[in-house]
Each structure stands twice: as C-alpha cells, then as structure tokens.
C-alpha cells in the first residue's frame, strides 16, 4: 500500500452499501422505546400577537401527553442562535414568520399528535409585517427584532441587523472609460434536502441525549448545554449521516424545544418535519444587489462598487455571517485598484435564512459576474479575455488584507475555454456565456481525530465530520490507510456521537478534507512513527510490524491529531481564508423563442481543487453543485401572498431539477497543482461549481437572444416576457425590464423602485 495507490483514487464510498440496501439509518428511521410524537402548532399568518393558547380540547384527547407553549417555561424565555441569542425556544408574545410554532403537542402516536395539534385553540391578532428589502428598510417599517435584544446597538431601531463594509483604493474618485451599473435580484430558495429535518430528544441519566440530522453536532451540544444549563458532558448528540444538508442542517432548529419537552415528560420525544415544514425552517438569503463596474477601454478594471441588501429572516441564525462572509469576496478573483462592498443583513418577517451551499457568494456572484459580462459587451471585449486580463495571479493580494491568490486560476479558465469550444463559431440560435466563481474557505477551524491501530493491523479512525453525502468518511479512510500503509478495507471510520468521537468545530465551508484531513493525517503519522519505533523499523508489512511492536499482550497504538486554524485579531472576517475555492464555468444554450424555454446544450465546469483525494467524489460534488445551481437559475423561488404566507410549499408547487432538466451534455474537470493547505496539497471543494451557474447561464442567454435578465429564476415565462419586450423595441440593445413571476405580484411590485436599467456612462 502506497500513498499514490489510495490518494486520488476513486475508491468506493464508505457507507455506500448501506445506502443501496436500505440499511442506512437516518434519524427518522430510529425509534426509542416509550417515545412520543411531536406535532408543531402554527398560525396561518406571518406576524401575529398571540392572545391566548387553549390546550384543553387537545389535552382531553386520549393519548395526548403534553401541549407545550411559552407558558410552560417558568424562567425567562431561553433564546439561542449561532450568532445571536435571538430565537426563543418557542414563540413568545408574537410570531415572527409564517411557520413560527406557538405550541407543540406530544402524543402517543403521530395520528394523535396531529389531531391534538388541530385541537389547540390559538387566538391571535395579525400584525403589520415586512417581507421585502424595500418593505423592511422603509422608514416606518415595523421592527422585526425587539430592540431590547440588542441594547446599545445603533442599528437596533432599524431592521438592519448589521452592516458589513469593506473597501480598498479610492472608489469615490476613481474614473473609468466605461461604467456599467445594474441591480440584480436573487430569489429566496430553500435547501430541499430530500431528508426532511428530524429530531429526537431523550432523558439519559442526569443529562440528555439528542439525535439530529445536524451538520454541526458539537455546536449543537454547546448550544443545548447552555440553554439547558447542563455540562457539555451531560449532553450527548447523535448525528447519523444526514440525508442531504447543503447548509440547511448546520444549526439548531427545534432541538431545544424537544429537549425541554423530553425533560418535562421524562420520555423520549421525536419530531420529523414534513417537506413543507422544512420550507418554513430553512432557506437561502434573498438579495438585491447594485453593482457599479468601471472598466477602461484597454480592458483594465478600474473600480467596482457594490451595494448589497441580503434579506434575512426573522431570527438571525447564521445568516449575518452569510452576509458578511459572502459579500466580502464579492469583487471576485480579480485585481481591482479600488473596490468597495457595502452589505447589510436586513431582517424580515420571513423564514429564518441560513447557510446554503456557497454561503452568500452565489448571490453576489450573480450580480458581479453578470455585470462584468455587461462591461465586456459595452467595451466590445471578449468576456473570457476580459476576465483573464484582470485575473489575480498566484501570490497577488487581490483582497489586500487577505490570503493571496493560491492557485493558477488561468489554467481552469483555459480548460473551460477548451471544453466549451469557446473560440469555435457558434451554431445558429445558440449563445455562450462564461463566469468565474470564488469563495473563501474557512477562516478558523479546529478538528481532532483519533486513530487507533489495532493488534491485527486494522485501524479505527474517529472523525466528528458529518457525512451528509460529500463522502467525508471515504477520504478519511483513504488518508488513514495510506498513512498507516494498510489496505483500505481494514479501516473503520466512526462518527456521529459526541460522547465517543473527539471534538470537531463544524462541517461546513468545504473544510473537512483540509482541516479534519490534516487531523487524520497527523494522528496516523504519529501512530506510524510509534509503530516503527516499537517494531524497530519498517521492514515488513504493517500487520507484522504491529505484531512485533505490541508483543504477546496485544493492545493498540493510538494518537490524537489536530487540524487547526486560529482566529486573527483585527481581520474583518476574524481570520483569513484557509484556501480559495475557484471555479470557471461556461455554458452553451438555445432558447425556444415561442415559449422562453432554455435548453442547455453543453455545460463545462472546472474547479481548482489542489489535489483530489477521491476523483469520482470530486466529480460528483461538482456536477451535483451544477444541477443544484440550475435550480435557482431556472426554476426555484418562494412565492408569498400579501400576508407573508409561502404559497408554494412542497414538491408540487416548488420545482427542483429532475433528470429531465439536465444540460444535454456536461463536461467537468479539475485543476490539480497540489497547492492547497490540506493533506497532499488538497483544497476544499464542493461549493465552487455552484457559484457561477446563474451568471454563466444568463450570459449565454444574453448571447443567444440579446436579452439581459437581472432577476432569477430565468423561468420560461420571464424569458418569454423579456423576448417580447425586446421585439417590441428592437432598437434597444438592453431590454431590461424583468417580468414579474406570476403569483408574486405583491412582492415584486414593491421592488419597482430603481428599475434595473443598464447605464453606460462615459465620464
């Protein structure tokens, strides 16, 4: 066994067999003896004053054991959240968004819980609410958050939770031959993990055990310990592999509520959300972003100025970090002499938005990359060449106070140029577009891994990473086997239990291959070194060395490894990027002028991954990211009514890509220069390929039809309206009016301020 016989190889997925036989147990598949079923009680409006909750009819139903509401918490309402302790365990006083639970019923069966929930009588009074950026920022807007929750904050009297302002150079006095300014809108979309969130809480000794489809079990453990007043050692979080997460399962949702109920009842309680309820639990931040791009006639970038409003929900969750970190790198992988980003997280009476693959970057990418395409067209410069010309090269401090460019990114662009045949003549009726994506990797991190080499030469590796589909356990098994020089099938990976597995900060930001990977490799190398020391050399197969090293007593050799990235004081994000995820994407498409329907004929995506640990899994991540990105690009958006209720809950009215919605051809490739900070030169990956999907598709649409759309999704209806507008005024090179999506007129009408007209100024 050598490093190269395992690293980079497409070995079969660890845990794969259980996933094709049905044996894999997700949270909803786990049952505890004596468990009760929980059903949430909500009111059918967004914001309401709760006047009374009458549980008597529900409690009279045989089998109902509890109707839990804010009245059942006799202390001050505990509040929680990953960034701010703003979210109550259950709504108190008023609801903040459609779906905010006011009570929860626990019963012997699911049927009884559902019936009990229907019998809970809630009297409420609907209150004025805000669902849009314009509505939330209006001077007389009702406040989403109680200002008392952030006393002393000068923004407390507004719906702006925080501002995130970054700049370098002198944008205000910068000039350019051409300035392109536009407003871009990115829709509110939901994660739609096929596994709806599921939670179980059970009293365990003098503490509590929780099962959750959670990405960050240790963060959840810490949060529950604080809310419940328990030591960390008395909160045990089981985190079976989530059935898809994509950021939507990073943080606590109903776990605190279930813990309170379980401890009060002295019995296990379980809550499995419906798909509809997941829409009301997690979503991506909607954005409205204005970009002013200044470019000189020679193709050099002069300045860029971004003003970004991210519409977050009623509770902050991790959304303000999404805004801060997503907007931070918004000027892209380019060298800008002057750049500015002013971003705001804007609270609204909508579903709390949270992390979602790309973490705020796809939204700003949509705006900035689209505007760069506009600038190229205004200058008559090839959009791909314009990007290459201004691209950061290795070592360039393209964000002056952050990690310098850590890749040969032009290689990815040149590869995508080949894959899409960029320089070949376009077939009739086709259009091509290109876009780049960049995302900062983790800014801090801490992961531990325990590696145990057992007496027969097999090994167990412990990792706190959640394997939610990305295949984390597979790459750790590869690393462990390679470093110990043992066959892969002798490695067992253990995860999913905070009482057994050492600490890991979180599974997000494409960090695990790098940070947990470094911990695994460090532990395995320590074990190997100790083995060779005890065995007096490395002159035999590992199993034989182990036998020699351990002697007749047997036992094991073990070590703990650490992967660490410390915070940096004074850094705008709390730390510089561990690496960058870089992706180049190009698309060739045609449009049915009669229907507005887009057909993607060829899609090319190239990511710089440093080194692929498992090439097949890398391909799966990139192609999966593309398909997910096509969702918000072509079809997905929440539709609200005037009361702030989501009108398209569930799989019938909210469409995600199916096997019938694929590009006719996909070409994915990677750049490997072994220049990442992870094991063997790996960088994190899996989000990069999603970042530029919308920008590249819209650029290709622009190329095919001459129509520039600045609001997603590019539904046939919206495209058709734009084509009609183009044909009505053929003289206009920039048909720009975005057609409203049917069913959302109330919302879009409030957006009519600052119509999305492209302006090309020549100072």
């Amino acid at each position: 066994v050598t490093i190269d016989s395992l690293i980079g190889q497409s070995v079969s997925r660890v845990g794969g067999e259980g996933r094709v036989t049905g044996e894999q147990r997700y949270v909803a598949d786990i049952h505890l003896p004596g468990e009760l079923h929980v059903q949430l009680v909500t009111v059918p409006v967004a914001r309401a004053r709760i006047l009374s909750i009458d549980p008597s009819a529900a409690l009279a139903l045989a089998g109902v054991q509890m109707v839990f509401s804010a009245a059942d918490i006799d202390t001050e309402m505990p509040r929680f959240g990953p960034q701010f302790n703003d979210r109550p365990v259950i709504a108190i006083g008023e609801t903040k968004y459609h779906g905010d639970p006011v009570a929860a019923v626990a019963a012997e069966t699911r049927d009884i819980a559902e019936e009990g929930a229907r019998l809970v009588r809630v009297e409420y009074e609907e209150l004025p609410a805000v669902f849009t950026v314009a509505g939330a920022l209006a001077p007389d807007a009702p406040l989403v958050q109680d200002p008392a929750l952030r006393a002393g904050d000068e923004l407390a009297g507004t719906n702006v939770l925080r501002r995130h302002d970054i700049s370098w150079g002198d944008v205000d006095s910068a000039t350019a031959d051409v300035v392109v300014e536009n407003i871009y809108r990115f829709p509110m979309v939901t994660h739609f993990a096929i596994e709806p969130h599921a939670f179980i809480a059970a009293p365990e000794g003098d503490g509590i055990a929780v099962w959750s489809s959670i990405q960050h079990p240790y963060w959840l453990q810490r949060l529950l310990a604080r809310v419940l007043g328990l030591p960390l050692s008395k909160v045990r979080v089981h985190s079976p592999d989530p059935g898809g997460a994509f950021g939507g399962k990073q943080h606590a949702k109903y776990e605190p509520l279930l813990c309170f109920m379980a401890l009060r009842l002295g019995r296990p309680v379980r809550l499995v959300l419906t798909l509809e309820e997941t829409f009301l639990a997690v979503r991506r931040t909607e954005t409205e972003i204005s970009v002013r791009t200044g470019v000189n006639r020679d193709g050099s970038f002069a300045f860029q100025d971004i003003d970004a409003n991210y519409l977050i929900g009623a509770y902050a969750d991790i959304a303000d970090r999404v805004v801060g970190k997503g907007s931070y790198i918004g000027n892209g992988p380019y060298n800008w002499p002057a750049a500015r980003i002013n971003a705001r997280s804007v609270l609204s009476h909508t579903v709390p938005s949270t992390a979602f693959r790309g973490f705020g970057n796809p939204q700003i990418n949509w705006a900035v990359e689209s505007n760069i395409t506009e600038a190229a067209l205004a200058l008559g410069i090839d959009p791909l060449e314009l990007r290459l010309r201004n691209l950061a090269r290795r070592g360039d401090r393209f964000v002056p106070f952050d990690t310098p460019c850590d890749g040969d990114w032009a290689q990815a662009i040149e590869r995508v140029r080949q894959l899409i045949a960029w320089d070949e003549p376009l077939p009739a009726g086709r259009g091509r577009g290109v876009a780049l994506g960049i995302k900062s990797g983790p800014t801090t991190g801490l992961s531990y891994s325990l590696v145990r080499l057992l007496a027969d030469g097999s090994a167990v590796v412990y990792v706190g990473t959640s394997d939610m589909g990305q295949g984390a356990r597979t790459v750790f098994a590869q690393m462990c086997a390679a470093e110990l020089s043992i066959p892969l099938e002798l490695v067992t990976v253990v995860s999913g239990d905070t009482a057994v597995v050492p600490y890991d900060q979180q599974t997000s930001a494409s960090r695990s291959t790098v940070l947990m990977g470094n911990a695994v490799v460090s532990a395995a190398r320590q074990v190997r070194a100790r083995l060779e020391e005890l065995a007096g050399g490395s002159d035999a197969p590992t199993a034989e060395l182990v036998h020699r090293a351990l002697g007749p007593m047997g036992g094991e050799i073990n070590a703990l490894g650490e992967g660490r990235k410390d915070a940096e004081e004074g850094h705008p994000l709390g730390g510089s990027a561990a690496f960058f995820e870089f992706n180049a994407t190009a698309v060739e498409l045609s449009v049915d002028e009669q229907t507005g329907d887009i057909t993607i004929h060829r899609y090319a995506t190239v990511s710089d991954v440093g080194r692929a640990i498992n090439k097949l899994q890398v391909t799966m991540q990139d192609e999966g990211a593309v398909i997910m990105g096509l969702g918000h690009t072509l079809m997905e958006t929440y539709v609200f009514d005037v009361a702030g209720r989501v009108r398209n809950l569930g799989a019938i009215d909210y469409k995600i890509p199916t096997s019938m919605d694929l590009p006719l051809e996909i070409a994915s490739d990677i750049v490997e220069n072994e220049d990442g900070p992870g094991p063997y030169g790996a960088k994190g990956m899996s989000e990069g390929a999603l970042l530029p999907v919308a920008s590249a598709v819209a650029a290709a649409l622009r190329s095919a039809t001459g129509v520039a759309l600045r609001e997603l999704p590019l539904t046939p209806e919206r495209v058709w309206h734009a084509l009609q507008a183009r044909d009505r005024s053929p003289a206009s090179a920039e048909p720009t009016e975005s057609a409203p999506l049917s069913g959302s007129h109330e919302r879009t009408s409030s957006y009519e301020v600052g119509v999305t007209t492209g302006t090309t100024k020549k100072p």
Binding site: E17, P242, Q470, L488, T658, S659, E665
Partner: protein, 176 residues
C-alpha cells in the same frame, strides 16, 4: 383496524392496519422496513417508491388496505442472498450515491425500468427516473449506473463490485 395479508420481499406478513394508513407507514412503522423514505408525501419526490406486483408505486399514495393480498418489494428485497444486485453495485461503481436518501426510490425505479426495457435508451432512463428527485444532483451518474446494469444483463455471471475496489476514473466528459 383491518386485517391484511401482504407478501413483502417474499415473506408473507399478516397484520392489522388503520384504514387511513398508507403502505409507506405500514412498511416503515409496522414492519420496520425503513428503506422506503418519507419526504414529500404527495407522490412527487419518489423516495417511497416500492413495487406492488408488477408495477412501482409511490407508497405514500397507496393505502395499506389497497395492497391487501399483493406482493410488495422494497429496496431491502433487491439484494439476494446478501449479494448486491447488479443495479445496486452499479450505483456504487458509477458514483450515483451521495447522501443516499433518494437512492432506495431511484433503485426501485431503475429496477422497474430494466424489467420493462432490457436495453433502455438514455431518454427512457431519464424519463424513468423523472419522478425521483435527487438534491445531491447525481442524475448523470444514476443514468450511467442504469445503463451499466442494462449492459450487463445478458452476462450469466454478474460481476459483483468489491466494496473497496480501486478503479479508474471514468472520462470526465459525459456525453449524452
């Protein structure tokens, strides 16, 4: 409660069910066959796909009493004698499995497709799994896995995938 008798994965089961309970609920909660999953519960996502006699259904839309007397096959019934079916191993070989939550349904749809078409075209495969959502976005790989399984149909000795087999990366470019 209504008594029903089902043959599930070849085994006869007699049980009493609530008249309003779906086949999915009974499989998962009464028989502890949790391979079929719950997601949309309105027949759109396909994670609850099982076979009833000679056709596949969304088991969230079938009442358990409607299946009385029928033969039901779930994903747990695809492997025989502890060996993965060719389709199951092809899913792993081709990288069709990420989080795995939709996979039981995808496999049941793929299995049905292969029963109806020994050599399905790519269009037939895409249509055959159109009712099975995969948010990880493994569709290309799922289609490829079904093609591979179809290609091996005639072989008498089905190659079983080694669970830890190291193999060559397939070509990056997937043409269709």
């Amino acid at each position: 409660m209504i008594p029903i008798t089902l043959t599930v994965n070849g085994r006869s089961r007699t049980l009493s069910v609530e008249p309003h309970h779906t086949l999915l609920e009974v499989l998962r909660n009464e028989l502890d066959l949790t391979g079929a999953k719950e997601c949309c519960l309105v027949g759109e996502c396909g994670v609850c796909t099982v076979r009833i006699d000679d056709r596949i259904v969304d088991s969230c839309l079938v009442l358990a009493v409607e299946a009385d007397g029928a033969s039901v096959t779930t994903v747990e019934g695809l492997a025989e004698g502890g060996r993965l079916s060719r389709l199951q191993s092809a899913f792993l070989e081709k990288g069709a499995v990420q989080c795995g939550f939709c996979i039981p349904g995808q496999l049941m749809a793929g299995d049905d497709l292969l029963r109806r078409h020994a050599q399905p075209t790519r269009a037939q495969i895409e249509e055959g799994i159109a009712g099975n959502l995969c948010r990880c976005g493994c569709y290309y790989q799922i289609v490829e896995a079904i093609e591979v399984a179809a290609g091996d149909h005639d072989e008498t000795e089905l190659a079983m995938a080694e669970s830890t087999a190291v193999r060559e990366m397939p070509p990056h470019v997937v043409d269709q």
